[in-house]
């Protein structure tokens, strides 16, 4: 047990070896050098790029972990800023795990969990989210009764009552955010038009628990996730799809630690791509846009879905796709993740501004993404040269 932590369980002990073995190669600061094309867009770590000090990069956070384990550091407010300006985008992880055989993201998550257990966290700004989760089982302080507001005008089956092969897991953000509810609706419309037999849980859908996990409240996350696993496994479907990248990564990856889901989990884009390829979705109308695609961290790096969105865009007639210098596994985070947008909106806005600047540099007139958090954060950047759209909007437009 470490000296400082009060809890009998110290999450840092799980990552102790990594924190010592960090070889300071500094690759965690940059995209894969073999993919570099533009010197203006080399950085991968948003907090490091903004705040510059070592502590704001994975390499520095490894040292903090080591310092805490050795009892050489005492908690202070600066620690919270260092830890919670990390969007947990996983950019540092790509190169480091591949070449360094280490897991820096795990160290960061462990640090957050530790400060939570030692009651240094949550941040005041995150307390609202956590209380919302306790009271409403969603982070948006919205009553459960309103969870199905997005689908009131649609008649969608309940998979517990009607046999379907697909469950559409909407997620809290698209369910509650008025600006994003149309994404949920469009997903449903597209699936219907393609003849997919799907259902939704409506008001009974539970939060995936991602918010709690990212805040460091692992115990609460585990409880919620366990509930969700039990609920989802009780429904007889072949697959579960979601249009939320955050839900996608949690359901697909994190739930494995809790036994996993029986059904196959995929992002809606993966299914849409299949349906386009099979001809079940017909893209008739031209959509004349020059687009660039932002890979959401939780869709790309966390679950490896890079090709499906690109395949979709290339299938839409009239679309010209240009890649940003930082794309696929090297995608630069939008700045919203892991509670950063809530706790540090100015910083989150700055990161989004960087990403939009990169998008503008491609000459594209449209920035496309596939994640509600990305859309919220990137959407806040006032940039007349480029329009932000969800990929499903383009699909819908082309379907007619």
């Amino acid at each position: 047990m470490s000296e400082l932590t009060k809890s009998p369980y110290d999450p840092l002990l799980q990552v102790q070896k990594d924190s010592y073995r960090c070889g300071k190669c500094m690759l965690c600061k940059f995209i894969d050098h073999n993919e570099m094309t533009d010197t203006d867009f080399l950085a991968i770590c948003p907090s490091g790029l903004r705040y510059k000090y070592e502590a704001y990069y994975a390499s520095g956070r490894q040292e903090i972990a080591r310092g805490l384990l050795e009892g050489k550091l005492e908690y202070n407010d600066r620690l919270l800023h260092i830890l919670f300006t990390c969007t947990e985008c996983g950019g540092c992880q790509v190169i480091c795990s591949d070449q360094g055989n280490k897991n820096p993201l795990k160290t960061i998550v462990a640090l957050r969990e530790r400060v939570f257990r030692d009651e240094l966290a949550p941040l005041p700004e995150h307390e609202t989210l956590i209380k919302s989760m306790e009271n409403y089982e969603n982070p948006w302080q919205q009553p459960r009764a309103r969870r199905d507001a997005w689908m009131r005008k649609m008649k969608l089956p309940d998979p517990r009552k009607e046999k379907v092969d697909t469950l559409f897991f909407v997620g809290c953000t698209q369910a509650y955010d008025p600006k994003l509810q149309n994404i949920a609706r469009m997903t449903a419309e597209i699936l219907e038009a393609a003849g997919v037999k799907f259902g939704v849980l409506g008001k009974d859908e539970l939060c995936c628990g991602s918010t709690l996990l990212r805040m460091g409240n692992y115990d609460a996350y585990e409880k919620m996730a366990q509930k969700n696993v039990e609920l989802l496994n009780s429904i007889d479907v072949d697959r579960i799809i979601t249009s939320c990248s955050g839900c996608n990564s949690v359901l697909r990856e994190e739930y494995e630690e809790l036994g996993g889901l029986d059904a196959e989990v995929m992002h809606s884009l993966e299914l849409v791509d299949e349906l386009i390829q099979s001809g079940d979705i017909k893209l008739k109308n031209k959509v004349n846009r020059k687009v660039t695609y932002h890979d959401p961290c939780h869709l790309g790096r966390y679950t490896g879905v890079y090709d499906a969105p690109r395949s979709i865009l290339e299938a839409i007639p009239g679309i010209e796709l240009v890649e940003m210098p930082r794309n696929r596994a090297n995608s630069f985070c939008c700045g919203a993740g892991a509670g950063v947008r809530t706790a540090y909106p100015e910083f989150a806005g700055w990161v989004a501004g960087e990403r939009v600047r990169e998008a503008v540099s491609t000459g594209a007139d449209t920035l496309v993404t596939a994640c509600p958090f990305c859309e919220q954060n990137l959407g806040d950047v006032k940039q007349p040269k480029i329009e932000l759209v969800d990929i499903l909007e383009l699909v819908r437009e082309s379907m007619g």
């Binding site: 102790q16 070896k17 990594d18 010592y20 073995r21 960090c22 070889g23 300071k24 190669c25 500094m26 690759l27 600061k29 940059f30 050098h33 073999n34 570099m36 094309t37 533009d38 010197t39 080399l42 510059k52 000090y53 070592e54 502590a55 990069y57 390499s59 520095g60 040292e63 903090i64 080591r66 310092g67 050489k72 550091l73 005492e74 202070n76 600066r78 620690l79 260092i82 591949d98 070449q99 360094g100 055989n101 280490k102």
Partner: protein, 511 residues
């Protein structure tokens, strides 16, 4: 002593310095918070961690000059830190003090295509410069180090490159320097010593003082700008992988020498199976697939030319050397295997941009030194014995990445027509295990004296007192070391610039 005898406690001193530094760089760019300081306490070496007292991030030479003037007045040690990639403890603040983190000074100013040069700041990485140079058909000479490392620091530190046989070592690529001296004064050397010199690739003017700052680890001043040489980027390129059996190390050393004399290749380096596996595949799983299929010794030969015809002529010359020296061309199956593991273009970029990051156990311990080529086989064989002695009984099951430690690796690079060679020998202690660190230090205690005894020279005297080449070598250097001490004392009378380096004690520094 590191801090002048004044009527202040250490805490008060640094509070004063902190206040002064804030006036220079602004509040945002100077820190004394322990959470920030600890990020600068370690590097990849086995040197003990030490925290600085302050970290400051200047954005201009003028700010660096003012910072050093403050440090000089107060006696606070200063350690320059460009990208933190030093592998020999060079930027660990052994005596505390101020870390001068140069990363905000990361510009690549301009690539001079006609004269094949580039002007850079300390924070500019190899990768960044490579991209800019490639756009205009040029390349920087790249070491066997991550592309995230500072090019300026590496060149100043006598970096050795895959192209060193052809283009020399890091110091050969330095055309001009801008240095902030310990008292804050700024001096320019080489082509920067006058505004209108352009980029000139010869030493001078006059006695070349730039050498004082080579491999000095910031002990004589902080370099804030460099004009560096670039080289032609071949339009056509290929790799000729070659192999030799383990018992024929003499043969493959001879091959390297012959290739160097023939001067028909751009890069030629000798790798072992472990090293090559990691270098090509860049991960452990890939290395584990490739390693058993490789012979112990492999030579990677990179040929190229302006035209395909030239490249083929070079290939023919290379094949001639292979035949003369009895080294075999690696079979196509090996090439196919490598291509299946990684995109082929990446192999070139790996060699050109990010040659290798082998981190099998999280870090590695390196000893690199200069020798006559003939000495390489014996040195390497003895080194293998030393690693077996120090690591072989380690239980790989206890490590989360079991790897046979006795597989010491080395990397041999012929220099300048094979007149001499740079031999790097690596061991793989696990920093995550106290036992691993202990073994690594024991390895250093064995290896360094052995290398010196057998005629190896460390031209980069890395390390602190714990495991440093510099400390063991320095007393053997005769009059050179006497002059070095005198120079250090003269340039830095209060021994504030990265004290505890170059094998110079505080007493010897005259403080």
């Amino acid at each position: 002593m590191a801090i002048k005898e004044i009527d202040l406690t250490v805490k008060e001193l640094y509070e004063e310095v902190y206040t002064e530094l804030k006036k220079i760089v602004g509040e945002e760019w100077v820190e004394n918070d322990p959470m920030i300081l600890i990020g600068y306490s370690r590097d990849q070496s086995l040197e003990t961690a030490h925290n600085p007292n302050l970290v400051v991030l200047p954005e201009s030479t003028e700010q660096v000059s003012k910072i050093l003037a403050v440090a000089s007045r107060s006696g606070a040690p200063v350690v320059a830190w460009s990208t933190g990639g030093n592998t020999g403890g060079g930027c660990i603040p052994q005596r505390g003090g101020i870390i001068c983190d140069m990363r905000r000074m990361d510009k690549v100013f301009d690539v001079d295509v006609e004269n094949m040069s580039v002007r850079i700041q300390p924070g500019a990485t190899f990768g960044k410069v490579y991209i800019e140079a490639e756009k205009v058909g040029l390349r920087n000479a790249v070491p066997s180090a991550p592309a995230s490392v500072s090019m300026l620091s590496n060149y100043l530190d006598k970096g050795v490159f895959q192209v060193s046989n052809k283009y020399g070592v890091g110091t050969d690529s330095i055309l001009g320097l801008e240095i902030v001296l310990p008292d804050g004064e700024i001096v320019y050397t080489g082509c920067l010593s006058q505004d209108n010199y352009g980029s000139i690739c010869v030493e001078g003017p006059g006695p070349d003082i730039s050498g004082i700052f080579h491999a000095s680890m910031g002990t004589m001043g902080i370099c804030t700008q460099m004009v560096a040489q670039l080289y032609p980027l071949p339009k056509f390129e290929d790799i000729v992988p070659s192999r030799c059996d383990e018992d024929d190390m003499e043969r493959v050393t001879e091959f390297l020498r012959e290739i160097a004399r023939e001067d028909c290749t751009i890069e030629t380096i000798l790798f072992q199976d472990t090293y090559l596996g990691m270098g090509i595949t860049m991960n452990h799983d890939g290395a584990e697939i490739i390693r058993p299929q490789l012979p112990r010794h492999n030579a990677i030969v990179y040929i190229g030319g302006e035209t395909e015809e030239e490249m083929e002529i070079r290939r023919e010359q290379t094949m001639g050397v292979l035949e003369r020296t009895g080294v075999e061309l690696s079979p196509d199956t090996m090439l196919e295997l490598m291509k299946s593991l990684v995109p082929w273009e990446r192999c070139f970029k790996i060699i050109q941009v990010t040659p290798r990051v082998e981190r099998m156990t999280g870090c590695f311990e390196l000893f690199w030194f200069n020798i006559a080529m003939d000495q390489a086989p014996d040195m390497a064989r003895h080194f293998e014995k030393l690693t077996r002695k120090n690591f072989a009984d380690t239980d790989p099951e206890k490590s989360d990445r079991p790897y046979p430690y006795e597989l010491a690796t080395f990397y041999l690079q012929a220099l300048e027509f094979g007149r001499s060679g740079m031999l790097e020998m690596d061991a793989y202690p696990n920093q995550g295990e106290p036992e691993g660190v202990k073994r690594g230090l024991a390895m250093a205690r064995d290896a360094i004296p052995f290398i010196l005894e057998k005629g190896g020279q460390f031209d980069r005297p890395y390390g602190g007192e714990q495991s440093g080449f510099g400390w063991v070598q320095a007393p053997l250097l005769g009059t050179y070391f006497e002059l070095l001490k005198g120079l250090k004392h003269h340039m830095d009378p209060y021994n504030i610039m990265n004290p505890g380096r170059l094998g110079i004690t505080a007493d010897q520094a005259g403080v």
